[in-house]
Assembly symmetry: C3
Homo-oligomer: 208 residues x 3
């Protein structure tokens, strides 16, 4: 199993947890929790596959994804009491997920022969949309519209990926640098409460 | 016309009526009523087709569907005064629709060579998503997140279908058993106010 | 560059502006403004492409679209102070966009060998969905459900297009007549406050 596979699993795990927590915060029932966990974990990749016509979409072809998400959801329900503790690490996991799925999206675009700017947009879509669908279903303001520079970090990562990719470096270096850049941007932004210019949103919820 | 065709028409009819009623309850105008009726009736099948790459999607290839839904919508508007009477039978129709579209979804998955668990997920998506889109457009809490064990019944039906299918029984028996199981679960759940454990939702609306 | 290309660009421009203004009215940050501008400008065409299986979707294959929308969004932000002035012309631009994308949708359906009624539905979907997604993301009542006979004008235009198309007239005449019909219907409807029968919506927001 490559380093990328490990990251991929961590990303799916992170998004599944964030979805399950969102659903529990909204007091959804057992099934609602599973639905939101699944949608958050597979939403971005599903939209990526649909946009480029890669069907049946990935989660339908890799069955382990469904078992993994189911297990993680049960785990999240059992340890929901540890939410406060989890929330901190969750931000990190969610950001790791954002970083990883941005990478898979950009790479998918490159492999599909799309223009760099289009591949970067596909990367941001892949990284962000799981969270967007989760928030729409939970009737919250989508995370990309909050003050945390979420999608912007994803796009910065996508640009970084394209540059390193064009330099023909070792793939793992490209992966790690991109993921780290996104994570660091997110950490700094939240630590120093940086926000994009001009307009702010009333809603100040954290990611979950 | 096979028994399945009859059920299929009944399902489309039921979802079209439920959509029209939802829209009228939200006081949408004539066009809004048609839109919601269409989306509710074709939404699940459309997402099923998009996920597996069966395009143009079904309703674009079978023109009678559009005429059927249009006729049913006009019928629903004319007889809207009978809503109170309709509401009871509507629950049944809607449940029949859930049962039928769950079956078409699971079978589509099997025919596409997907894993059983994936086919069951596709069946639940097909059965539930028309109602989910309807509720999102009507700005209500999606039916699958309410206390009525909606998607759970669909998944139970999907598992039933897979088991009977693997037993190689007569197809009609598989169809009828699956649909009946879903209908019975829904009836019992609402009659005895059963609900899934752990979390409940404030909103207590019935389906329409 | 044909007359149609010019209209197409105007339509994309108009929808991008309407999206940017919507986002600024909702006080989204810089990134939110870009997201909404993009979704509004490409949403309808993306759903059109996904429904008929034309993937990767158009905006991924025609890179100039992304640059055009980006430029228009920056333009909208700089001249946001002129909003009050813009709002008037925006209604016209938005309507032009509706007219153009209705045409591209209907024609796409015809070229895909779909039935006339299905092509008209595809035209309405293409014309209306950018605005619908914009409004859902901005948490407003979708424009098609407001009192301004939006989608109805699109469908009337689609029928007009099919009739003129069947008469085998010069394509530009068909394009212009269809676009003009939609624009005139919208203008008359708003000027004389015409609305569809039966049900009205509380929310009285204008398009932006």
């Amino acid at each position: 199993m490559t380093f990328f596979d490990v990251l991929d699993i961590l990303g799916t795990v992170a998004f599944a947890i964030s979805g399950a927590l969102s659903a529990m915060n909204r007091r959804f029932d057992l099934f609602g929790i599973f639905i939101i966990a699944f949608v958050t974990a597979i939403g971005g990749g599903t939209i990526r596959d649909i946009l480029i016509g890669n069907t049946p979409v990935s989660w339908m072809q890799n069955i382990t994804t469904m078992y993994l998400i189911s297990g993680i959801t049960i785990f999240s329900i059992i340890f929901r009491n540890k939410l406060d503790y989890l929330k901190g690490s969750l931000f990190l996991f969610d950001t790791i997920g954002l970083g990883i799925f941005t990478i898979t999206g950009v790479e998918t675009g490159i492999n599909a022969g799309l223009e760099p700017i289009v591949s970067i947009a596909l990367g941001a879509t892949t990284g962000c949309f799981g969270g967007v669908i989760r928030d729409i279903l939970c009737n919250e303001i989508p995370v990309i519209f909050r003050k945390e520079i979420y999608a912007t970090a994803s796009i910065a990562g996508g640009i970084c990926f394209m540059v390193l990719y064009s330099l023909d470096l070792d793939q793992n270096i490209t992966y790690i640098s991109t993921a780290l850049l996104i994570i660091i941007i997110r950490l700094l932004v939240v630590k120093y409460r940086v926000s994009l210019p001009l307009f702010t949103i009333a809603d100040r919820n954290t990611i979950e």
